[in-house]
């Protein structure tokens, strides 16, 4: 314990209270970002306000472009990244939807743009409150998507995101998502690392292709049917292959900063009969509490949190749940018109199929537009899983928890 404290002393500059949004801003400052462009939208706004303040005070030497829309924010990031700069933007909800076209283009051009996205419900009706519908709509755009569950993890993930995105084996944009409001606006203790250590961990990749008159290249071409498919396949391949790079970089980060990240987080999963699969802050935190309660009552339960959503950690998820008696996937997003309306549920089922594993899995939706997820809800869910197991009857459709009749 003592030795560990010593390590922390060596790496930690200060421990302060931060919202997840401010944690993002500090990470952006610590990795020395060159160009930031963003447009205000709740619950993202306080990120760029803080960054604007850093720039205004000379604490971060960056160009801050106060663009006229999110579409232009991401477009400016594409331009700046193509010119060789390290870039950052952030958005939520409608802003992420307005960027959608450029999300595909960013990955297609293989640009290491990093973006923070506190999740928020989508219109109509307007809701400023947190869930993950916006994030899930971005899941087929070729971006690496990390979903953090604490402000510390948000800070750490942004730092890692630059290493991952700019790695020559990857060269893909990275999105760091987390709960709107429940994290974006909630203060937690965060350990900030010494700036020089963060910078040493995130050196710029100066050898990636860039727009340079001394070595002209053409970016953003038109491709005939004879070429398009192969070029897009390279994106598929890059994101698939990125999992091992992500694990490698996480390993290095864990060693350098004394953390313990993996592509999934396991809480009392080892011997669990009943597993809740979650992502993000609130559902995971409450799921852990519910699991503790279940354990006190003699039910062997656990939580498996998806930390890296894309590339989906297929092997890790299946390995963690393959011996369980029943599993529930708690989605905070909707996939209307699908057989099951929980998007991550569909990923989990596909993952099991790919590994030839079959475990009873239940699709649960909760926390839409920040509808409160109570610990008792999740405890009750675990009890239901036991019940399903005992009766052999598993619901074959999505359970909409917290929905008024």
């Amino acid at each position: 314990m003592k030795a560990e404290l010593k390590v922390r002393d060596e790496v930690v500059r200060e421990r302060i209270g931060l919202t997840s949004n401010y944690a993002v801003a500090y990470a952006v400052k610590d990795v020395d970002v060159d160009v930031v462009a963003a447009y205000p939208i709740t619950p993202q706004t306080t990120i760029i306000e803080k960054i604007a303040e850093f720039v205004a005070n000379g604490e971060l030497d960056a160009e801050f472009i106060p663009v006229e829309s999110e579409h232009s924010a991401l477009s400016a990031m594409v331009g700046a990244s193509a010119a060789g700069a390290r870039v950052f933007t952030a958005t939520s909800s409608q802003g992420l939807e307005l960027m959608h076209e450029i999300l595909h283009i960013t990955s297609g051009l293989r640009l290491p743009v990093v973006m923070a996205t506190p999740g928020r419900a989508l219109s109509a009706p307007i809701s400023i409150h947190g869930d993950y519908q916006d994030i899930m709509n971005a899941r087929d755009t070729g971006w690496i998507i990390i979903i953090a569950s604490t402000a510390q993890e948000v800070y750490d993930s942004i730092i890692m995101a630059y290493r991952i995105a700019e790695d020559s084996r990857v060269l893909l944009p990275v999105m760091v998502a987390y709960d709107g409001f429940l994290m974006s606006h909630t203060m937690e203790p965060v350990e900030l690392y010494h700036e020089e250590l963060v910078r040493r961990f995130t050196p710029r990749n100066r050898s990636r292709p860039r727009l340079d008159p001394r070595n002209p290249i053409t970016m953003g071409v038109i491709a005939s049917p004879d070429w398009y498919y192969e070029i897009k396949y390279q994106v598929i391949n890059a994101i698939k292959e990125s999992k091992s790079v992500i694990k490698e970089i996480q390993g290095e980060f864990n060693k350098a900063f004394g953390t313990d990240y993996d592509v999934v987080e396991q809480y009392r999963v080892d011997d669990a009969d009943y597993i809740l699969i979650t992502y993000g802050g609130a559902s995971t935190g409450n799921a852990k509490e519910a699991v503790d309660e279940a354990r006190r009552n003699g039910i062997r339960a656990g939580v498996l949190r998806i930390r890296v959503l894309k590339p989906f950690p297929t092997e890790e998820v299946v390995k963690a749940i393959k011996d369980a008696k029943a599993v529930a996937v708690i989605d905070r997003a909707l996939s209307p018109g699908s057989t099951f309306e929980g998007p991550v549920f569909n990923e989990v089922v596909a993952a099991m199929y790919s590994q030839g594993v079959s475990v009873p899995v239940v699709s649960v939706v909760h926390g839409i537009s920040q509808r409160t997820i109570f610990i008792e809800d999740l405890y009750e869910l675990i009890r239901e899983l036991v019940e399903f197991k005992n009766t052999g009857y598993f619901p074959r459709r999505t359970m909409f928890m917290g929905l008024r009749a």
């Binding site: 060159d34 160009v35 462009a37 030497d61 960056a62 160009e63 472009i65 106060p66 663009v67 006229e68 829309s69 579409h71 232009s72 924010a73 477009s75 400016a76 990031m77 594409v78 331009g79 700046a80 990244s81 193509a82 010119a83 060789g84 700069a85 870039v87 076209e101 450029i102 283009i105 051009l109 710029r204 100066r206 727009l211 340079d212 008159p213 001394r214 002209p216 290249i217 053409t218 970016m219 953003g220 071409v221 038109i222 491709a223 005939s224 070429w227 070029i231």
Partner: protein, 315 residues
Amino acid sequence: MKVYFRNIRELPAEERYGPGQLTCAGCGPSIAVRWLLKAAGDDIIVVNATGCIEVTTTSFPYTAWGVPYIHVAFENSAAVASGIEAALKVLRRKGLTDTNARVMVIAGDGGTYDIGLQSLSGMLERGHGVLYVLYDNEAYMNTGIQRSGGTPHFAWTTTSPVGKVMRGKVQRKKDIMGIVMAHHIPYAATANIAYPIDLANKVRTALERLNEGPAFIHVLAPCPPGWKYPEEQTIEIARLATETGYFPLYEWDHGKIILNPPSNTHLDKSRRKPIVEYLKRQGRFAHLTPEDIKEIEKEIDEYWDYLARLVKAFG
């Protein structure tokens, strides 16, 4: 404008554009791009909006571009250019690059008057040192000749057809120069591919001004299939556009309006060729009645009236 080139022989001999581009024979925009790149020199990064030029010059694995080039989408070239300009600025400051490259947008009328207007306005308002060149072929040509905000009154396009009830485009052409000048940028100008020396000098002048802020050049660039004339007549028709007063050549330089030759004599209507000379050469106007032509003439006179007042106020 400053005079950098006095005649065609003084333009650089090197070609930074093509061969290998796939535009139609007689393509006005393609001619424009050739002059633009000759005038701009080596230290340039081009941002291109989606449109004819982009799809005909970057057909993977070939490229017609001898300078760094990026295309991202249709509506965002000004935003992309803003990002590049900001990146070069900060990278120079941090000692991470030593290039002095300037950024030049090349975008069509659709990408400028319509879908890209927001990002253009944002870029101008924020004052990025970017040269934005609008090549105006007066319709969405890449998607097969649909009307844009730059399409002139009465012109036929596939979405402003000539039928029993409507005869061509119902609305007038949008005053893009007025919109741009309203942003009070250091330099804006109109140009025409039929006057390449004027065009090249305006490009150089604009690039010189970029340390003060954005510059804008509106280049008229006729399209043989879209305007329906034989492809060898592109330059003749372009020249008629200016000689008839339809497309005046002028500059906005630090709040001053300057008419350039031959438009500098055109405040006097008798020095302009009759508009019918321009209209009758193009199939897109083939359906015009004498009244329609009168109406167009009246609109051009009104525009000259407006220009005269601008010259008086800002000359």
